[in-house]
Symmetry: C2
């Protein structure tokens, strides 16, 4: 194979051209006075400083963060009270307010999470690949920090600390762009984080809240190519779509989960009911909850009546195709008529779309057409069906005889996660510390030339 590096490039790089790569931030065209860009520049410098730090220095800072969160609980809950009062005055739902609320107990739990991150192995420096080449050169591919990580997230102040802890542990500087509804809480939390980090001898600017509460600050983050190495949008689909469409900074999409449970012709009915109800109703508001049930026609007579009753008992409304609705009579369930919109919807509620299919391949075709590529489960007693389903379904996670709810960094034993990637490049599925790294090759010779 004639390799690329032995090929001539077809054009000379102009000075402007050389400004494209991440390594030349100074030449990228940003408004020099924007507070977001200035924050990103400080993050870049901090990133250069923390990238080579050994594990002990990073863990010391993380333990200082945990201690400071506990010691300064009062000022954090006070700031949080501002946010919750504002939310309540605006008529925000109690579910959302609950997510926004920080109590001393929750802050203790967050501090415990930070100590847990400190206890995880350092991904930086891990040798991913290594060999001695035929000419005697030693080749090693090692993990290195990404650099500056930007995170845009929803109104959950615990994410502020989680994301900062994971980024610090992996040697990255972080730019946190939380929801404006949590601005007071995030401001207080980041003040505590920065003081603790600086107290441990690390640059305070390795943790920064992105200035400004408007959408403009997200837009500036998206255009800070060369300063921000990756942008991770978390939360609603419209945010993720905007970032994907408009960002010149590389993006990792997370968390859109239109997950399916497929009940095969050959199946254990009790197991299928358990997995269905658990996947849908154990916690419907999360991305790995099931949103569509597909049943093989040969299992439908035996399975669907039991499934409809079990879903009804769990408080779930079914949006069924015509064949599914045929089982509604005599069932406890409400079965509404499903439209294409139902197949596409991530309900995140006590609703499920449901259809009877003619074959495993038809189930796969439905999933290919409608799934967001997060998690799909098959319940089957057939080894051949399990094998075919796992081969043909192309999602981050394919579950065989297990609930969709297992797609989770904690469940997978990663210790921590910064999100669940639903894209194919770089990271796919739950992202732990290794996914917050890149790699570089170290070539060591003793005067080798070609």
């Amino acid at each position: 194979m004639t390799s690329h590096s032995d090929s001539a490039s077809s054009s000379t790089v102009t000075p402007e051209g050389a400004a494209v790569p991440a390594a030349t931030p100074a030449a990228t065209p940003h408004e020099p006075t924007s507070p977001v860009v200035l924050a990103a520049r400080r993050a870049r410098l901090a990133a250069d400083e923390i990238a080579p730090l050994p594990r002990a220095a990073k863990d010391t800072a993380l333990l200082a963060v945990a201690d400071a969160l506990e010691a300064r609980t009062a000022e954090i809950t006070e700031a949080n009270a501002e946010d919750t009062a504002r939310a309540r005055a605006a008529g925000t739902s109690e579910t959302v307010i609950d997510r926004l609320t920080l109590t001393p107990e929750r802050i203790r739990a967050i501090a415990a999470d930070v100590r847990h991150v400190a206890a995880l192995p350092d991904p930086v420096g891990e040798v991913v690949r290594g060999s001695t080449l035929p000419n005697g050169i030693d080749l090693r591919q090692i993990r290195v920090p990404l650099g500056v990580v930007g995170i845009v997230y929803e109104a959950r102040p615990n994410v502020t600390v989680d994301a900062a802890a994971l980024c610090l542990k992996s040697g990255n500087a972080v730019l946190l762009r939380g929801s404006s509804s949590a601005y007071a809480s995030n401001t207080a939390l980041v003040a505590v984080l920065r003081d603790a980090v600086a107290g441990a001898g690390l640059p305070a600017d390795s943790v920064q809240l992105v200035p400004g509460e408007s959408r403009d600050s997200v837009r500036e983050l998206m255009r800070a190519r060369g300063l921000v190495d990756v942008l991770i949008p978390r939360g609603g689909a419209s945010l993720i779509r905007t970032v994907v469409e408009e960002s010149t900074v590389p993006v990792i999409e997370t968390g859109t989960g239109n997950c399916h449970v497929y009940v095969d012709a050959d199946t254990d009915l009790d197991m299928a009911v358990d997995i269905l109800v658990n996947s849908k109703a154990q916690r419907p508001s999360v991305c790995n909850a099931a949103e569509t049930l597909l049943v093989h026609r040969d299992a439908a007579d035996a399975f669907v009546p039991r499934a409809l009753d079990a879903l009804a008992e769990a408080g779930v409304t079914v949006h069924g195709d015509e064949r599914m609705r045929g089982y509604a009579d005599g069932s406890k369930a409400t079965v509404l008529a499903a439209t294409d919109e139902d197949w596409a919807t991530e309900y995140l509620s006590y609703d499920i779309a449901a259809a009877v299919v003619d074959s495993l391949d038809d189930a796969v075709a439905h999933i290919r057409r409608w799934s967001s590529g997060h998690t799909e489960a098959i319940v089957t007693t057939s080894q051949a069906a399990a094998r075919r389903f796992t081969q043909l379904v192309d999602s981050t996670t394919v579950a065989v005889n297990a609930s969709t709810r297992f797609t989770d960094g904690g469940q997978f034993g990663f210790g921590a996660e910064i999100g669940i990637s639903t894209q194919k490049l770089h990271a796919r599925g739950p992202m732990g510390l290794p996914e917050l790294t890149s790699t570089k090759y170290i070539v060591t010779g003793d005067g080798h030339t070609r």
Copy 2:
């Protein structure tokens, strides 16, 4: 750590929202009649078909391709003669025409490369990570094809075959968008490839030339999100910049190489001269050739005069800073005055920028400021200097006492490469077959619920 999948999503996915992920191509908004989009749709279907194929099926197709290239050499060279005649009439340089030219001998070499790719291990199905979780679930992370790979490349017809072979081997469908100046050659080559692939029982549409020779076809590829999984631009910096700025399809940047050789205070002078000249002049037109020399001031008196003479003998023009120019008198070298443009330029010619620096850290600062993050080399006898340089320099490859020219998939022993990534996400440095894959998790239980 409260994991993301246990967090509530902040908004419901609309049907439009659900159209964002790659898994729902049908819902993405493309002009339905565009030939590029239609080609991408056919590629998507072909990708689904070849993804689960076992290695034997793919290797059979690759060997058929190699045989067909040799059997149909005449029609390929005939088409190629059209391209070269057109190029010659347009006054194209003989270097470029040489790159464009296909001879029977070169076609035999290309066929041999294809057989070599067939002999490489199949990356698909490789278990990257695996364990039994505490609850008894079996977790495996396996490599899967990316899906549809788009490649935009320069006027080198051998890339058409190389890229197709690498994509087929890794279970991906490929959309080839070569240079318009090689259109006749590429059309002939792709006809041979498609016939051979189809003859081996694989879908012909797993290899397609992107219709149309205008820039519009690149633009349509860049917007075919949901149909194309990754776009790899090769070639000039302006193409790469355009793709990075405008593509909504995920991109892997390749090949911009503003590489540095740093000669440390403590150095073996003979080794330093050899590595410098080899890095710069062994093949100046390639991305891993050196473009800037940095010399520690303590080595300058002993090293620079020898370096200037050696560069002059190799035909290299030096663009030096003031201190470097101080050594020009009495040397055989031409030393022009360097400007900031020189530090930023990837010459790809017999030119090198050169500066004297006060310390290793100053060399690192210069590299951070100007490098494209491809490859940087240090020549030193000091273990401490080697260690600090490899820690602080953040490029795809850091070479210690070895030429920059080793950054290459073939040299690294990967067997083949599709380009050299100069970005941090997904792949960094020479990209072989594993870099053309994503992963998915297989979760196997026996009725596990949470």
